[in-house]
Symmetry: C3
Subunit: 199 residues, 3 copies
Amino acid sequence: MIPHTGEWTSQANGRFRGLTHSFRRIRELGALNLLLGLYLRRSFTRAGILIVHPGFPLPRVTNRGGHVEAGNCSFFPGVHIECWKGATVRIGKGTYINRNTEIVASRAVTIGAGCMIARDVLIMDTDQHPVGGRALVSKPVEIGDRVWLGSRAIVLKGVTIGHDSIVGAGAIVTKSVPPHSVVVGPAATVIRTLQEQSR
Amino acid sequence: MIPHTGEWTSQANGRFRGLTHSFRRIRELGALNLLLGLYLRRSFTRAGILIVHPGFPLPRVTNRGGHVEAGNCSFFPGVHIECWKGATVRIGKGTYINRNTEIVASRAVTIGAGCMIARDVLIMDTDQHPVGGRALVSKPVEIGDRVWLGSRAIVLKGVTIGHDSIVGAGAIVTKSVPPHSVVVGPAATVIRTLQEQSR
Amino acid sequence: MIPHTGEWTSQANGRFRGLTHSFRRIRELGALNLLLGLYLRRSFTRAGILIVHPGFPLPRVTNRGGHVEAGNCSFFPGVHIECWKGATVRIGKGTYINRNTEIVASRAVTIGAGCMIARDVLIMDTDQHPVGGRALVSKPVEIGDRVWLGSRAIVLKGVTIGHDSIVGAGAIVTKSVPPHSVVVGPAATVIRTLQEQSR
């Protein structure tokens, strides 16, 4: 009944999701997306099949000497991954990252499998500047499997987001989020807990 | 006294606003804006005179099989309207939509006449993904006449915003807003009610 | 220990910061940045050495008949300064302005020396539209020295931000901020006061 957008709404088992997702995509989307994906792949240390949706600016990875790794993933225009020297970015299979999302890893940003990262999301594991005369603070960010980050969500240093959680549009996540939670707001707090089987 | 930016500040009667706005614009802005408007118009199911302010990326409409309709309107660079299969987008006359604003309609997004939509606004009538094992939720968004949405405001599914209301910069509107209201904040709440005659 | 990004983290005395910053930059970055800087400089009424980091869209200044002035500063792609007729924009030396930040001055926006303006920041000294039948409100914005505005912060009309203060990611600053403060949230409030010597 609800119009289908071609976006990933598979309810398949998590382990196979990445694969079926990618295979379906390949059939649907054809050669251009795969070619752009091969081009993007060159910036990764290691990667599965990357699918890049056409449009400008193309997704890009600024690797200053770190480790950037992804499974079979989809990227939309404007995505930017910035990996500092010695840092690690890991993105699980079946995850897609929508338009203009930015990831900054000064130490480690890990994103699980089957995640849905909406447009204009910002994930940073560092303040990027020292605060108040102290050393620059960097704390790894870890995002579980099947997490959904809503449009314009901001995820800040040291945050862990549990499996199957949902972060509302525009939420600013400054503290860790347990699995199966729905969080919203400028200091994102849990407003609902999802049922285990609900995924 | 206040410098005039060429942006629409007419206090004319609502019924004539769209028209006088458009006519003034045509005189002021000349041929390029109209040509770009004619080009954009091809993506609409039905439209009045569209005026497109030059700049990149050009405004665009992704119509996946819905109905996209507008009166005499102005669009700035980066605007993106996404209309899903069977969905409807309607924009009233004299409304202008500023840079990088995005509208996603999975069912229906209606914007009234004489509205001022600021930059980086996001209007979505759907979560875009099913939440917690349930079906994908889509609820029409309806925005009245002469509504002003401030920069980076987010308007989410099921919201109705009454005539002459003002949504503050960065506000996230998750619940309906009565007419003549000023709402702000991450779960936008009314902070002031404007006088009826104040428009 | 913390990887160095080439971003400005100098702890030098404020008076010399702008200069050493610029000189270091010139050595590091070379001719392209300076050439782009010279190109951008033409849009300023008066400016020191401007450094522009390559990328699209190039930073730009829309000067509708005001006064736009900067010391030795760095600009990243997508920065946009809009100065209305009779208005003033002043940016102190050693300040850098990151990607996609926008400044709108209808009367006066002043940014001090050694400031760090993160990506997607929005600074406006006007609502851009009259509210509720009254005249358009414009109140100067003044930002002190060594202020750090986090990603996506919004600074609105009439706000003064004291020296050495820090505005958190996504904060919306609607009221003035005393020196040496850390403010966060959608109606940005002080959560911490930094030690005087801490800079």
